[in-house]
């Protein structure tokens, strides 16, 4: 994390691929989403954020490399692709972006040798005077404000949804099946999949909160993104959680079962 924070404070663009395995510790080598907090909330020192892209398919894993570099260059900020052990080993049809589709640029701040017409460029993460460090922080916060416009998410059958599943990455693929299974049973379920988990689609989730009965967050961890969902809905509707840890994967039926039991308990209260 030290190196990551160094890159961040020095405002160096870079792309990090985090293919998450079950933890903590050396842990397992099976898929997990246990690094959500680390990726979106920090884990290093200082006030900072990465731009975090959460792919749910091999195609997105390929596309996000290009998107990631573009965002990193645009904002001079490290970008993370938050994948997992299953997506990392998955074989799927993929159309690779054309070679050379990333522009090769030499930004003015790069250390390419001091030219006579300019001052020397220095790339550093050391700002020993607190006044200066605060100014750097203020600039970073301005940047994070601008980054909010890059928020991306996907909605599946949310138009008439009465129940909303919220899941990213691999979990969202499993939830798609749950949506189909539930709709076969006549339960109107929709799915919101954040594609960027930082910035997070707080506003859209807040809107959907006025439409649905409750939300169910599905993650392969002990419940990390659920905190963001709760922040987003501002108590308008209950937010439930189902997850497994340590490299275990939920089945669509597990999620459906949880969804039905929550649905029933809500109905019981309403009657």
């Amino acid at each position: 994390m030290l190196i990551l924070v160094t890159l961040l404070a020095a405002q160096l663009p870079c792309l990090i691929a985090n293919v998450v395995r079950g933890g903590p510790g050396l842990g397992t080598i099976q898929p997990s989403q246990g690094d959500y907090f680390q990726a979106t909330k920090g884990g290093g020192h200082g006030d900072y954020h990465l731009i975090v892209l959460a792919p749910s398919s091999v195609q997105e894993m390929a596309d996000f490399v290009f998107d990631g570099f573009r965002l990193a260059e645009k904002y001079r900020n490290p970008v993370m692709i938050l994948s997992d052990g299953a997506l990392g080993q998955m074989m799927e049809k993929v159309i690779l972006p054309e070679e050379g589709s990333l522009p090769k640029t030499t930004p003015a701040w790069a250390t390419t040798g001091k030219k006579k017409e300019r001052e020397h460029n220095v790339i550093t993460s050391l700002f020993i005077q607190p006044e200066e460090m605060e100014q750097v922080n203020l600039r970073l916060q301005e940047k994070y404000k601008a980054i909010q416009s890059e928020v991306r998410y996907e909605e599946i059958q949310t138009e008439d949804a009465e129940i909303l599943l919220v899941a990213f990455g691999l979990s969202s693929r499993i939830c798609q099946k749950t949506v189909d299974l539930a709709r076969e049973k006549g339960i109107k379920v929709g799915l919101l999949r954040p594609i960027t988990v930082y910035p997070y689609p707080y506003a859209r989730l807040n809107e959907l909160a006025s439409q649905v009965e409750f939300m169910l967050t599905v993650e392969m961890n002990a419940g990390q993104m659920v905190e963001d969902v709760r922040l987003a809905v501002e108590g308008k509707v209950p937010v439930h959680f189902i997850g497994r840890m340590g490299g275990m994967i939920l089945s669509p039926e597990d999620i459906l079962h949880k969804l039905e039991s929550v649905h029933e308990s809500h109905n019981a209260v309403n009657v």
Binding site: L2, T111, G113, K114, K116, V122
Partner: protein, 266 residues
């Protein structure tokens, strides 16, 4: 005796110089106007100055990129008027590798102390040299952690009293001083390895030659050039700068003898 005890701006250069005289030595233009923050008599400043003199004389200011370490010389980029990057502790040679690979035709050097290069950065150091990266690695060895308050370094001498070895370094407890330059000679990627000093004028002249050679080898893409400078730390050693000269000669140099350790074979 003196009426005025403090210097005024205009008077700080002292002597009047005969107009017919030639200037034979001055501060290199590749140094910024910022005065060094180093303690009086510190070898870091001398190495900064000599390095910048060489860059000035070779005319490669526009072609050189430096990487600064963590330690006393963390602010090297404030003084060296070239493009520079600041690396995380111990990682200067890794950053220099990256810079050199992106810009293979530029001159790249890393500048590190012993707490940086020979302790936390040992792995990066060894693998950079083993890959034979076409960079110059400058290693300032003063046998102590200067910036943090004179703690024992891997290069501290046996018996050396530091703030973390108050009874003197004991080999049985913390091992012997590590001779990193000697170790690096074993690696095929090391093209030129030398150990120099800066506490006397001849030492400075020889360091300058070694630097010129290293940049020449880098131009020819020969491999890693590694220059160790046995330096001082008056504050950490609790000595006056003049006393450190004696300490270097009597204590440091028997352990870290001056001279070329690996020279090109041809």
């Amino acid at each position: 005796m003196n009426e005025k005890l403090y210097l005024e701006d205009e008077e700080n250069l002292g002597t009047q110089v005969d107009e017919s005289y030639d200037q034979v030595y001055c501060r290199p233009s590749t140094l910024t106007d910022v005065p060094f923050h180093y303690c009086p008599g510190c070898g870091h400043s001398v190495v900064h100055k000599v390095l910048m003199e060489v860059i000035d004389e070779l005319g490669i200011q526009e072609e050189t990129i430096g990487v600064a370490p963590v330690g006393c010389s963390v602010f090297a980029y404030q003084y060296m008027n070239i493009d520079m990057q600041e690396a995380a502790h111990g990682r200067a040679s890794a950053v220099a590798t990256g810079v050199k690979r992106v810009l293979p035709d530029k001159y790249v050097f890393s500048y590190q102390g012993d707490g940086d290069l020979a302790a936390i950065g040992t792995a990066e150091t060894i693998h950079t040299v083993n890959r034979g990266e076409n960079i110059l690695m400058l290693f300032i060895n003063n046998g102590i952690y200067g910036m943090t308050g004179g703690q024992m370094a891997p290069t501290s001498l046996i018996g050396q009293v530091t703030s973390t070895s108050p009874y003197g370094r004991e080999a049985a407890q913390v091992g012997n001083p590590i001779k990193i330059a000697d170790m690096l000679c074993l690696l095929p990627g090391a093209y030129y390895v030398t150990r120099q000093i800066v506490h006397n004028p001849n030492g400075v002249r020889k360091l300058k030659k070694a630097l010129i050679k290293s940049f020449e080898y880098q131009k020819q893409k020969k491999g890693t050039c590694f220059i160790e400078v046995v330096s001082n730390c008056p504050s950490g050693w609790k000595m006056t700068p003049v006393e450190t000269i004696k300490y270097i000669e009597e204590q440091m140099l028997p352990m870290y003898p001056v001279g070329d350790l690996k020279v090109p074979q041809n």
